[in-house]
Amino acid sequence: MSLFLWVIFPYLCLAVFVVGHAWRYRYDAFGWTTRSSQLYEDRLLRLGSPLFHFGMLGVVGGHVIGLLIPRSWTDAVGIDEHRYHLGAVIGGLIAGVMALVGLAILVYRRRTVGPVFSATTAMDKVMYLVLTVVITLGMWNTIAGSTLNLGGEYDYREGVSVWYRSFLAFQPDASLMTQAPIGFKLHALAAFALFALWPFTRLVHVFSAPVGYLTRPYIVYRSRDVRPLGTSAARRGWERVGS
């Protein structure tokens, strides 16, 4: 069972994540968008969207630090356990609350603003559900595990993080996860489910974060498309000559 949960399932999700994105990019470049609904409604979005997105940026940053950077590194630069813990909990709480409040506003908006609601797809709803579950579980882990110390002390940097790195290195050690508290287990499983869903939702827009904008020239010039004639590809043997 633990083999399935902590080795097979995560790798399956990872594979779906990678292959799914490649497929979507090829098959559906046109559908690759944020699908913004700002045109319909502005007031709530202006509040909720930045809260959620900046919160999420914080959350992702926190996970990168927590999961990818081994304890020995932070020790080496002289950050002791207490300081690290304090930073992680405070930063995590702030970012998490921002994301959750933002998400709440956005979901409320989706449900109550008529045009926005009718523009919501089934995939959106699934995505919102899983996203909420993942974030809520993550918050629970931060609050219950690290602050209130419910269910005993658990140092994720010795457990989950190590497992995660072993997972990324393709030498997964499932036993590390079986010892983790249930909250962490559920959070990880839900997160992997979200990764598997990712390429099929509007979340793909994350990967088109336009950093290139900072360096490219303002005006883009491009030559006329050298598309093949017509909108469907020429049949074999019927290609045009001389084009």
Binding site: R24, Y27, D28, A29, F30, G31, W32, T33, T34, R35, S36, S37, Q38, L39, Y40, E41, D42, L45, R46, S49, P50, F52, H53, F54, G114, P115, S118, A119, T121, A122, M123, F200, T201, R202, H205, S208, P210, V211, G212, Y213, L214, R216, Y218, I219, V220, Y221, R222, S223, R224, V226, R227, P228, L229, G230, T231, S232, R240, G242, S243
Partner: protein, 565 residues
């Protein structure tokens, strides 16, 4: 570089909206673009579409020249754009355009016999619910509700106390607008993904639908608000200058169908290296001259040689020499740019209307063909002239007066000729033109035939579109925009348009049954419904498809009966 540009002669616009409607039928009759008019015609003074789009204090479109003499986007630089990407602070809401609607026509046919006439209620195309129609793309057409609406025209700021809004005492004209295909497009500069590009061959500004990620910054960036967000596909769309048509030498749909025949299309050669310099001149009122100076004289052998060296084909240079647009802008100098103060160097220019002046002359019993009278009136009627200057020259009245004088001179000079009298050479001289020039300008403005109004060289890559696909190929429709996939509307493989149209048409024309196709998901946009198919949502769920029945009553049965007897 070469640029396809347009000039519109506002004196001839009768405000019939034919251009808007044909454009809509060609390009924006799909779900998600119900509220979008690539071409719209607004009555001025008026609010325009979207409402008060010219108020850049509010909408922050276009460029500004900063104190250090550099050009910057008014809405802020690259960092600010990325920081506000999660919620665009300056996006017009659908209410600033208008909430699109259709009517519940079914009640008209289903209503039982009643004392009162049944009413088809307006239904929102966004929510499907009942709505109050309160605004549209031309709600203040012909100065309708002018005291309430036109009085809020941002260009009237500063002169509002002197403008009379009583219907008989005011002036009015129509302003048809499309995307300006600017030389320095702020829409492209605002796009974080770099999806908006200017074609190097003909200067047409297009949105790459595959690279657009729906950040909406271009909508705010364009000061003319001529880029729109398709709320179904989540991508930006804009006027394409009908590129599939002009590539094969046909004029745009709006020009082709213009009732007043007031649009001119032609090539302009320009010096791309001087664009930025021209857009950065210190005074707003110098921008008109600065932009004019960027255009190169196609008769100049040095220019021709340079164009050839830059790879512009010979027939394009020839077309540039015959270009009516270049003639109106630089030879006769009667065309002016729209809002040069936005510093985008717009490429759809306008010949300002003399009609507000002529109308007033005529109404006050003066001879509106007489040069002296007209000249005096141009001087006396400050309000219309100032207003036109705010539209076309950033407030500088001198160039507008010059143009109006030329138009007035043409009027009185041609009257003499039409009455069989000798032309009065002092008339053209008084506006600094030769008799020959004035006559040629008259020819171009009044008599020019199709191939003189539209001088469009065909695209040079021999892979021009197959003729059957003319004007049907559209970057968006080729994705079958409007289909619902799990991944959201409009996603999926490109649908070969020509095949689809051809087969659908054939099917519809030969079938007795309502046929599949023309499917518009969820709601039906009646603008795009051809009356033959039964798209989903046209009838309530569960209702049987309406097939004309052969038995029973009705005209069909009556005729059948007669034939049988």
């Amino acid at each position: 570089m070469a640029q396809l540009a347009m000039v519109m002669n506002l004196d001839k616009c009768i405000g019939c909206h034919t251009c808007s409607v044909t454009c809509k039928q060609a390009w924006t009759n799909r779900a998600g673009t119900e509220y979008v008019w690539f071409n719209n015609v607004e009555t001025r003074p008026g609010l325009g579409y979207p409402r008060t789009y010219e108020n850049q204090q509010e909408w922050q479109g276009g460029w500004i020249r900063k104190a250090n003499g550099r050009l910057a986007l008014r809405s802020g630089g690259r960092f600010k754009k990325l920081l506000t990407i999660f919620s665009n602070p300056k996006l017009p809401s659908i209410q600033d355009y208008y909430e699109p609607w259709t009517y519940d026509y079914e009640t008209l046919t289903n209503s039982p016999a009643t004392d009162t006439f049944p009413v088809a209620r307006p239904k929102s195309l966004l929510t499907g619910k009942d709505m109050n129609v309160e605004w549209s793309a031309n709600w203040d057409d012909n100065l309708g509700g002018s005291r309430e609406h036109a009085a809020r025209d941002v260009l009237l700021a500063g002169i509002e106390d002197r403008v009379r809004m009583e219907f008989e005492k005011t002036f009015m004209f129509y302003l048809p607008r499309i995307c300006e295909h600017c030389l320095n497009p702020s829409c492209a500069a605002s796009c974080p993904s770099g999806a908006i590009y200017k074609r190097s061959e003909d200067g047409i500004v297009l949105v790459d639908q595959d690279r657009c990620r729906g950040w909406r910054m271009c909508v705010s960036g364009c000061p003319y608000k001529k880029i729109y967000f398709n709320h179904k596909t989540g991508k930006a769309e804009k006027c394409t200058f009908c590129y599939p048509r002009v590539e094969v030498g046909l004029p745009t749909v709006c020009s082709e169908t213009c009732v007043g025949r007031l649009r001119y299309i032609g090539l302009v050669l320009y010096d791309a290296d001087r664009v930025l310099e021209a857009a950065t001149v210190a005074e707003d009122s110098d921008l008109y001259e600065a932009q004019r100076s960027v255009f190169l004289d196609p008769e100049d052998p040095a220019v021709q040689a340079a164009a050839e060296a830059a790879g512009i084909p010979g027939d394009w240079i020839e077309a540039a020499r015959r270009s009516p647009v270049y003639a109106l802008i630089n030879r006769y100098r009667v065309a002016l740019p729209l809002h040069p103060e936005y510093r985008t160097l717009p490429m759809v220019w306008y010949i300002p209307p003399l009609s507000p002046v002529v109308d007033i002359m005529r109404e006050t019993g003066h001879d509106a063909e007489d040069r002296g009278n007209l000249f005096a009136a141009i001087d006396a009627l400050r309000i219309p002239v100032e207003y036109l200057a705010k539209l076309f020259t950033a407030g500088d009245v001198a160039p507008v007066e010059n143009v109006l004088r030329k138009l007035a001179a043409m009027r009185s000079y041609m009257r003499d000729l039409n009455l069989g009298r000798e032309g009065d050479a002092s008339i053209p001289a008084s506006v600094g033109m030769s008799e020959q020039d004035l006559y040629e300008m008259f020819r171009l403005l009044a008599l020019a035939k199709y191939d003189e109004r539209y001088v469009i060289p065909t695209a040079h890559a021999e892979q021009a579109h197959a003729l059957e696909e003319l004007a049907t190929d559209c970057p968006v429709s080729s994705y079958g925009g409007g289909q619902t996939g799990t991944l959201g509307e409009g996603s999926g493989k490109p649908l070969p348009v020509a095949v689809e149209n051809f087969r659908m048409l054939q099917e519809r024309q030969t079938s007795d049954q309502p046929v599949e196709g023309g499917r518009v998901t969820g709601r039906v946009n009646l603008l795009s419904w051809d009356g033959r198919s039964a798209p989903d949502g046209l009838f309530p769920p569960g209702a049987p498809p309406r097939v004309p029945r052969r038995d029973g009553d009705g005209p069909q049965a009556a005729r059948d009966g007669r034939e049988g007897s």
